[in-house]
Symmetry: C2
Subunit: 582 residues, 2 copies
């Protein structure tokens, strides 16, 4: 009982050994992450089409729940760029941005996503995330980064523009470009330039000025806060908000409120598929980050428990004024680098953000939206990485096709179609590859017991003996292929009296393939040709014995291909069949 | 040029050697098939919800086109039970049975299906049919047989009833049972009983009465005609059509008319998916029959050319008053048994049916619909075969699940959902099986060069050497599984200094798996553990060499597992890594 509880509530394990040293490390990490998260949370709320406080709320209770239930010591949960984009895309289809319905739809999306993640975790379905192949994820994230950056340009120009695809966004931006606000543009460009410089040039400068490496690091992380403070002061001092610079405006001073998601059947139905998509993408992003960080400390995370923790975090977001959340890459890396030792660091971060939500929100009244957009643009452009196209092209055209399709369709038709197409194309390409398996004719490497492809190695063969190594599991998609192949090889002439199928690479024979093997056996028997198997794996043999194939076999099953060779190669049998050239 | 023409128009090949003997055999077969097809064509039109003459029309021009373009000498093309049922289901969703719109929708369905088949043939996509696994096809045909039989019961009872699923049909039949027509029921039961007897008891009786086997066969085939004649005469003589027995009524005396399918975008859009489904199912049924019959004569058929021929046949049906057609099982077997030698037999059958359409239709005015329903019921119940459930249960639970789901969903939710679910479930189960591959730790069988699972065989191992035989291709679905497995095996202690991955059963390594192998290599290197590969297949090695994995490998690639054993087993290396129990 206690054991089961500890499995599902990891805090009961690490909490027992929590000490002052761990506390100190966690607290320092929490301060650094809090400073970084304040502008980031506001910005991602903007990206999701929600009021800025939603970003803070989405970072408080979810972080606490993850601290209790999660298995990664460094993962920082909250709004992240890609999930915020997906939220904007999904919620935008059922409600108008800025309305109360929009906020409720975002809560509902978090609720459905949380429920789905929790269900997957309880059913231990974490492996489903593997259906997103690495190239599809890489392509999707790159394309999302471009879409997100494009969607933020309207804030840099101070214009209205909208769209969920790159062509829509570009058209809309172009149409409204004449309305651009010069002061906004100046702030936007300066903030973006400053933030890029912070990433690349600030740390070396601070080190050159004599700062310690650690302190230089912290200062770099505070760059966005600096941009926020500077631009807010500028707008306030110069009265720019009366000159067309859009500002964040009044933000309530409040702890996360208690909210209810919508339970109208139509709303639930409309958001279900997007919620599943968001859950899976969020989970994959979160688990990748958590695994990478855990490996650095030789720790392990439990993907199924991660599903439960992320599910709880999203349910928490749904009831406290948030929107869908997941473990974010940049915040987690910062947390890890800052020395976070346990999930308690997350709890302290939540505390810091709660203080900010309660006390600091009046200070951001004059914060220009252009600054938040600059924060997002600089963050997401680091996700854009086209090298995956070059790498996959060099390695495998099928993987390249999956990446290219994912990128193009995400940019051209939107995030949901893009990632769905990527997944389906990956599966289809895999099935296509296995539908025409590699089958090699093999012979013996002289003086050894090894058998190799006759086209690649100098090997011995016997004219009446055809040995085919089947390089694929046999299942319905390729069952008929083997049937046709054996048929065409044997009908080429009367010379062949024995066929050996070498099953060293056959990991499964499904029922369709069993029927095909029975058909091959029957046809070869009619032609007076023997059919033998060699190197059949244990699990495959166990299964074949449950059918009638082995007893009906017009030949033998050999443990090794060498046994088959020694039994069959020497004895030329007379050709008794009526095999004719076809 | 001429060669290409012959490839696409097989009649140019077999037509050149056509002689009097082949003509005689083909003509006899055509007479027998024509006698059998007249009632069957009328009945399947009824099943599809169309006027009876549509069944005759659908058997004339399509047969001719298939004779010119097809590669099977015995295949008989026309309306078949399952495709007629699918037609009724698809067309019933866009038009009311009995209206002009219904007939146009059926033509449109044939047109779309023909265009799709033709396209698949020209693109040589015949292998796509393999995605229907044997168990799914078997389950679908069994469930369809039950649905068809149930849908015909209304004609036996002489009542109105409708529905596309078994619960709908049963409910509807039960609701109208009070309106049953006693004379219709008598005719229906007698006809059904007689036709069952013809199948089982008539041939032995005729043989006992002294008839030759061949003649007894022909007489058996004529059984349905006998039932048609007897019941028609009975209705006419007893005036039963005024007592509630529904009859076929006036059928135009005409050759197939020229008709146009509908080209309204909404109609095309609504019928596109059903047309694709009908095409694939029809193609699979047709190719299975054609291949079975071809194998008996050691002939081969060309699946891609079959697609072209069936596509042309359906286009022909669309422009001559028909509905979707394919190669039928029973009619093709009859054609084969009757001695058809070339596709010309089909052309002669078309001629016979054209004569029937032109001259004989007045004779079936009083033909009761109950007789046609009896013909259908007796024909389709022979398709119902639940033994597939037992066979798959014994062999593989995954295949059993696919069959059971296909049967239940087809019966419960209709043919389209049933077969789509079967296909998707087959693919999902296959992916699931490969997502957690069998990985065996292997050791050397003493005195040999063979390596076998340590759990199944008495083998030699070395304590510091971990050899894992990976029994599956590595791709995105299972890439992380291997990563986790190696990690957990190696972190068990410091004893292991070398890991060999034996790739004899790895037929592919996709980009996701490559990245996983790179991650495994990096982690093992950090732990001071060597990573080696053995028995890597040629095509896999070619691809790996295009990446940086091999040059970055913290170990070697061995041609055979025996080489790896001899190089690594003897030399215990000191444990240099910091590996700790996790």
């Amino acid at each position: 009982m206690m054991h089961a509880l500890r499995q599902y509530v990891p805090i009961l394990q690490w909490g027992r050994t929590y000490d002052r040293a761990a506390f100190a490390n966690d607290a320092v990490a929490a301060v650094i992450v809090t400073i970084m998260l304040i502008p980031q949370s506001l910005a991602y709320a903007l990206l999701a089409g929600l009021p800025p406080e939603a970003g803070l709320y989405a970072s408080i209770v979810p972080i606490l729940l993850y601290a209790i239930l999660g298995t990664s010591s460094a993962l920082a949960v909250g709004p992240v760029a890609v999930v915020s984009l997906l939220t904007a895309s999904a919620v935008g289809q059922v409600a108008e941005a800025g309305t109360a319905g929009y906020a409720v739809a975002a809560l509902t999306l978090a609720f459905l996503s949380g429920a789905f993640l929790l269900l997957m975790g309880l059913l231990r379905l974490g492996f489903l995330a593997n259906f997103l192949s690495h190239p599809v994820i890489a392509g999707f994230i790159t394309a999302s980064g471009i879409l997100i950056a494009a969607s933020q340009l309207k804030h840099i120009f101070g214009i209205d523009a909208h769209g969920h695809t790159l062509p829509e966004l570009i058209t809309s931006l172009a149409a409204h470009l004449g309305e651009a606000s010069i002061p906004t543009l100046v702030i936007g460009i300066l903030a973006t330039g400053f933030l890029f410089w912070v990433r690349k040039g600030m740390k070396p400068l601070l080190r050159a000025l004599g700062l310690g490496s650690r302190l230089a690091d912290v200062a770099t992380k505070a760059g966005p806060v600096l941009a926020v403070v500077a631009t807010t002061l500028a707008v306030w001092a110069l009265g720019l908000s009366e000159n067309g610079v859009r500002i964040v405006g009044a933000v309530p001073q409040s702890l996360p409120p208690f909210t209810l998601p919508g339970f109208a059947p139509d709303l639930l139905k409309a958001l279900l598929v997007p919620a599943i998509l968001i859950s899976i993408i969020g989970f994959v992003e979160s688990v990748s980050v958590a695994q990478t960080l855990a490996a650095k400390k030789r720790q392990r995370i439990d993907p199924d428990q991660e599903l439960i923790a992320l599910g709880a975090a999203n349910l928490g977001a749904a009831f406290t004024g948030g929107f869908p959340v997941t473990g974010g890459f940049s915040r987690s890396v910062v947390n890890f680098d800052a020395g976070a030792e346990t999930p308690a660091a997350g709890a302290f971060t939540a505390l810091g953000l709660a203080v900010a939500a309660l006390l600091l929100t009046p200070l951001i009244y004059y914060l220009p939206k252009a600054t938040l957009a600059a924060t997002i643009i600089v963050a997401v452009l680091s996700l854009v990485d086209f090298s995956i196209l070059r790498k996959t092209w060099a390695y495998s055209r099928a993987d390249f096709a999956a990446v290219a399709a994912t990128i193009l369709l995400t940019l051209g038709l939107g995030v949901e179609i893009g990632v769905a197409a990527g997944v389906l194309l990956s599966i289809a390409l895999h099935l296509y590859k296995t539908s025409r398996p590699h089958v090699a004719e093999v012979g013996r490497v002289p003086g050894t017991q090894h058998f190799r492809n006759i086209l690649r190695h100098e090997v011995e063969t016997a004219p009446h003996l055809l040995t085919l190594r089947v390089d694929e599991s046999l299942y319905f998609v390729n069952a008929r292929f083997l049937e046709d192949l054996v048929q065409s090889r044997v009908t080429e002439g009367c010379a062949i009296t024995d066929v050996v199928l070498m099953f060293s690479a056959v990991n499964e024979v499904d029922f369709s393939a069993l029927e095909s093997l029975e058909a091959i056996n029957a046809r070869l028997r009619d032609m007076g040709v023997g059919l033998h198997f060699s190197e059949v794996k244990g699990p495959v043999m166990d299964r074949l014995k449950r059918s009638h194939l082995i007893e009906a076999l017009n030949g033998r099953v050999f443990l090794s291909q060498n046994d088959a060779w020694e039994a069959l190669a020497g004895k030329a049998r007379p050709c008794t069949g009526a095999a004719q050239p076809s």
